[in-house]
Structures are given as C-alpha cells and as structure tokens.
C-alpha cells in the first residue's frame, strides 16, 4: 500500500518543523556549546575550548560525581518503589468492589498535580510547627517539632515519600490498563486447573505485564533522572548539595552561574549516560519477546 502521494508528508510537516527547531537543533547546539568557553557574565573569555570542559568535569569537579551518584540512587529507589506500589495498587483497583470508580479517581489524582504543587502540599504537611508530626506528637506518637526536611538524616526519605505520592499513580494507571487487556478466560482456565491466587498471578498476570513493566520503568527512569521541579523546590539540592541531581546541577549552572559552556558539557554527559543505560536495559530485559 506504499503510496507516492504527498499527503503523509504534509500531515507530519508541522511536527517535523517543531521538532527540528526546538529539539534537534538545540541538541546540536548543546554539543557545540560543550566545546566552547561560553559564560554570559564573562563574555571576553568566550571561545573554542576543545575538551577542556569535559576534562574539568571528569578530573576536577567532585560535585559532578556526587550529583551523578545521587541521581543513580534517586532513580533506583524511586522507580523500584513506584513500580512495586503501583503494581499492588493496580491489582487492588482491578478487583470488583463497591465504589471502585470513585476509589480509582481518588488514588490516581496526585498524578495530575505538578511537582511544584506537590512540594507546596508536602511542606504544609511536614512543617515542624503545624504539620502532621506535631499533630501526631499531641496524640503521643513521636516527638514534637520534628523537622524531617531540615534534618540531613531524614531529608532523603522525605523526598522519596513525597515523589512516591505523585509517582505511584503513573504506574498504577499504565499497569491497570494492561491488566484489563488480559483475557478473562485465561484466569478461568487456570482456576479450573486448580491454580492458586498466587500461582495465577505469577503464571498469567506477570508474563502478560512484562512488556508494559519494562516500558513504563524505562520511561519513568528517564523521567525521574530528569526530574527537576520537585527537588529544586523542596530542598533546592541541599542540605550541602546532598540532594543535587545532575540535571539540577545543570539548571543551576545555567540559571545561577550563567556558565553555558560548562553546563552544556554536563548536559552532553547526562544524555550519553541516559542513552547508554536505556539501550542496555532494553537489551538485557529482552523487550518485545514474550516469555
């Protein structure tokens, strides 16, 4: 049915133009800037720098390695927990019970909330003087004046829980959609054969969900790696750069220091790392091959 008409090209033309100008050209220019000294505050120093930015990044910038390590930890913990809780939630709201529609709408709703708003809500909830820990301490649980966001020992946990609140519904929605596409007779056949609830889960549900799980964890991992708005507004990367991710570091180079050359080099590094691990992940997980 290969056509020789111009119609498909006309239909995708606006998309191509937008992608070219706002996605592909910028990628090219990031690569170009990464090889330049380009600092808005010191324009007289601008010029070709070769690989100097990358040398500085690899050998002379502990914050690069620190932020990369934190990014890895952040992605691993967030995606793992979101997948686990999202799967449980999807299985629960896939069952039949009274008020299911309302329950679904409610538990999915944080998905629609922005990172900044999530920060606002959780700052209210966790504030030491009128937050939930204060109320609990009045009931005799915990100690009053607990500040989980100001304490270096608890700030990571607080950050993780806050992002879980917004992130779990994404997995729950995608996995629920996939659960609903499993033919009912597969379960009936398994039941007739005497399979237990757990057995039906491991031999019918999980294999069916495999591709959806691989795809959603990958998308989410990329997204969590690039997630800036929540961390930026909740901790600002602190205390003492403890929660600075690589993209947050880039954003700060761009917004605060106006060091576009070095920031671009960090961007290129982040992009390559992401691409490498995405391809590795798809290979290792044998995406698309049904078990």
């Amino acid at each position: 049915m290969r056509t020789r008409t111009w119609a498909p090209y006309a239909l995708i033309a606006p998309t191509l133009v937008l992608m070219g100008v706002f996605l592909i050209y910028p990628i090219g220019s990031v690569v170009y800037y990464s090889l330049q000294r380009y600092n808005v505050t010191q324009p007289w120093k601008n010029g070709f720098a070769g690989l100097d930015n990358f040398k500085q990044m690899l050998f002379d910038d502990p914050l690069f390695w620190q932020s990369l390590a934190f990014s890895a930890k952040w992605v691993f913990v967030e995606v793992g927990l979101q997948l686990l809780l999202g799967l449980i939630l999807a299985l629960v709201v896939n069952e039949t019970f009274i008020g299911r529609g309302v329950a679904r709408a409610l538990v999915f709703s944080p998905w629609a909330v922005s990172g900044v708003l999530t920060t606002g809500i959780w700052i209210l909830l966790l504030n030491p003087s009128t937050g939930i820990f204060q109320e609990l301490s009045e009931l005799g649980i915990g100690s009053p004046g607990t500040s989980v966001l100001g304490n270096p020992e608890t700030v990571f946990d607080a950050l993780v829980v806050t992002e879980l609140w917004r992130g779990v519904p994404f997995f729950a929605i995608l996995l629920l959609a996939d659960l609903q596409s499993i033919p009912k007779d597969l379960y009936e056949a398994a039941s007739v054969d005497g399979a237990s609830r757990w057995r039906r889960f491991t031999s019918v549900t999980l294999p069916h969900l495999k591709d959806a799980i691989i795809l959603s964890t990958l998308l989410r991992a990329v997204w969590e790696f690039n997630n800036v708005d929540l961390i930026y507004t909740l901790t600002g990367g602190g205390p003492a750069n403890q929660t600075t991710t690589l993209p947050l570091y880039v954003a700060r180079q761009a917004v605060d220091s106006h060091n576009f050359g070095y920031g671009s080099a960090l961007t290129v590094a982040g992009f390559l790392i992401l691409l490498f691990f995405s391809i590795l992940y798809l290979r290792l997980s044998k995406f698309g091959s049904r078990a």
Binding site: M1, T5, P8, I12, P14, T15, L16, L18, M19, V21, F22, L23, I24, Y25, P26, S29, V30, L85, V92, V93, F97, A103, R104, A105, V107, F108, P110, S114, G115, V116, L117, G120, I121, L124, L125, E135, I173, L176, A177, Q180, D211, A212, L219, V222, F225, N226, V228, D229, T233, P247, V250, A254, V255, S264, T267, G270, F271, L274, L275, S278
Partner: protein
C-alpha cells in the same frame, strides 16, 4: 439501571439483574480474602488524601488557628493570593497556555498519528525512531540552547513562546499514542466511504473522527495537564511577573511566604482544582484508551 426500578408486569418473571448478582458472587467467592483488597486500599487512600486535606484545611482556616476541622471557614487567604499576590493573573496565563497547548497538540498529533497509521511512506521508520528518541531528551538540559533560541526569536516573556515550547516537547509522545488509537479503528469503513466517492479528508471527518472521540479527550487532557504543570520553561523564559504561570507563582510563594502557610495553601488550591477536576473526569478514558493497545505501540 433504570429498568430495574420500574415494576415488572405481574405475569412476566423479573428482569435478570446480572451486575448485582455477579458482584455478590465475587464477594462470596473468597470471603476470607477480602481484606487483601480493603486493607491496602484504605491505607493508600489515606496516603493520597491526607496531604490534600492538609492543604484544604490550611487554605480555609483563619491565620493562627490550628484546628484540624476548620470551622468557621474563611476566604481571606484566597482574597490575598488572588488579588494581592497576583494569582488571578497567573491563573489566566495558565489557562491560556493550557488551552493553547491542548488545541495544537490535539490537532497536530491527530494529523501525524493518522499519517503514521494509515500510510506507508519513505522515511516512516526514521520518523518513528526520532519520535521515540525525543523521549530521552532531558527538558532541564535543553534550557541553555532553548534560552538562546528564545532570546534570538524575541519569545522571552511571551505566552506564545511558552505554548510553542510546550507543544514541541509534548507532541512526539502524543503523536505515538494517537497513531495507536487510529490503528485500532477499522480502516474498512473509511475505505468504503472513499469507494463511494468521498475524498479521504471527508471520509476521515465523517467516519474515523467520531470514533476517535475518547482518544481526543485522553490526548487533549494529557496535553492540558502537562502544560498546566510545566515549570522549568515557564520559570526560565518568563521573568516578568505578569507572565508568570501558577507553578512559577507558587514556587515564589514557597520562598517568599514561607511562614504564611494560609496563602501558600490557598495558592495551591487554586493551582490544583482545575487539573484534579479534569483528571477525575478523564481518567476512565485514559485507562480504557491505553488498555486498547496503545501502550504496546
């Protein structure tokens, strides 16, 4: 449902009420296992709703009050954020951007999705690959080059600029989703219409478009919510306060009014209500649409 309410004539047997029966049977099937559903559900509902409730309480109780059941309620915080801090303007800006992105993403993704689903053309695979690759581009990391482009094009501090950037970033995924939706609609009716003398465009509008309605709702609301919540671009590309969007306004409220929790909460409610309402209405379409096979691409 209404049929079961009307009294059946005396001689005929009552109409079968299958839904209720089936539900009862499901409950009766494994009575000991119901806690497996109820316990996690209640725990998760509390985890979801307590933060929302906290915000609502802070938004409507008077300054200085610490009651958890806020009564009497006050609207003073809404007055402060809407009129004094400027959330009225931020709200207007967010609505304009949200609707602009919704319209353009929906139209352009339908066009592109139709092209991918109904035609085979040279360069199709490359195009699809390019769309998928864009999903790995970190928005935060595009700030620097985009800033340079926007400055050169005079698009800083303009709502148009924010709409264009957001459309460009959302379009690839929306287009992939839309091509899945179009593929799920049978081509035969459309072909039949064309055999009967309709142009392809006419056939599309008369036959395929009406069936795409749930997909349009899903993709459009996706786009609206994404645009409504967009933060980094809005923060970087709009420095004038009259061009702030709600997330940007809120982020400043987080810093400046760190002690005025009432104002922060009221601002949060203003930012949350539209998206949460939109989402509550469309989440069913979302699950159905994704379930129809779009996930697998």
């Amino acid at each position: 449902m209404t049929e079961t309410l009307t009294r059946p004539p005396v001689n005929t047997p009552p109409p079968p009420r299958r839904p209720t029966k089936r539900r009862r049977r499901a409950v009766a099937e494994e009575p000991g296992k119901r806690w497996l559903i109820h316990v996690p559900l209640v725990v998760y509902l509390l985890f979801t709703l307590i933060p929302f409730y906290w915000m609502l309480v802070f938004a409507v109780r008077p300054t200085g009050s610490t009651q958890l059941v806020p009564w009497p309620m006050t609207l003073e915080h809404f007055d402060t954020v809407w009129n004094d801090i400027g959330f009225g303007i931020f709200f207007y800006n967010s609505v304009i951007i949200g609707l602009g992105v919704l319209v353009f993403v929906t139209i352009l993704s339908t066009m592109g999705g139709y092209a991918l689903a109904r035609f085979k053309f040279r360069g199709q695979r490359v195009f699809l690959l390019a769309l998928l690759c864009t999903q790995f581009i970190p928005g935060a990391m595009m700030l620097i080059p985009l800033f340079v482009i926007f400055k050169g094009a005079g698009l800083l501090n303009s709502l148009t600029g924010l709409v264009i950037a957001e459309v460009a970033f959302q379009l690839p995924l929306a287009l992939i989703l839309m091509s899945g939706f179009v593929r799920n609609i049978s081509y035969e009716l459309e072909e039949a219409a064309m055999v009967d003398g309709c142009s392809r465009m006419r056939a599309f509008f008369a036959v395929t478009l009406p069936q795409l309605k749930p997909a349009l709702v899903a993709v459009g609301s996706f786009a609206f919510i994404g645009a409504w919540n967009q933060f980094l671009f809005a923060l970087m590309f709009a420095s004038r306060q009259d061009k702030f969007t709600l997330p940007v306004g809120l982020s400043y409220a987080l810093g400046e009014f760190n002690t005025d929790f009432g104002a922060l909460a009221a601002g949060g409610v203003v930012a949350a209500v539209p998206v949460v309402l939109v989402f509550a209405v469309v989440q069913r379409f979302l699950v159905q649409g994704l379930s129809a096979g779009a996930v697998k691409g």
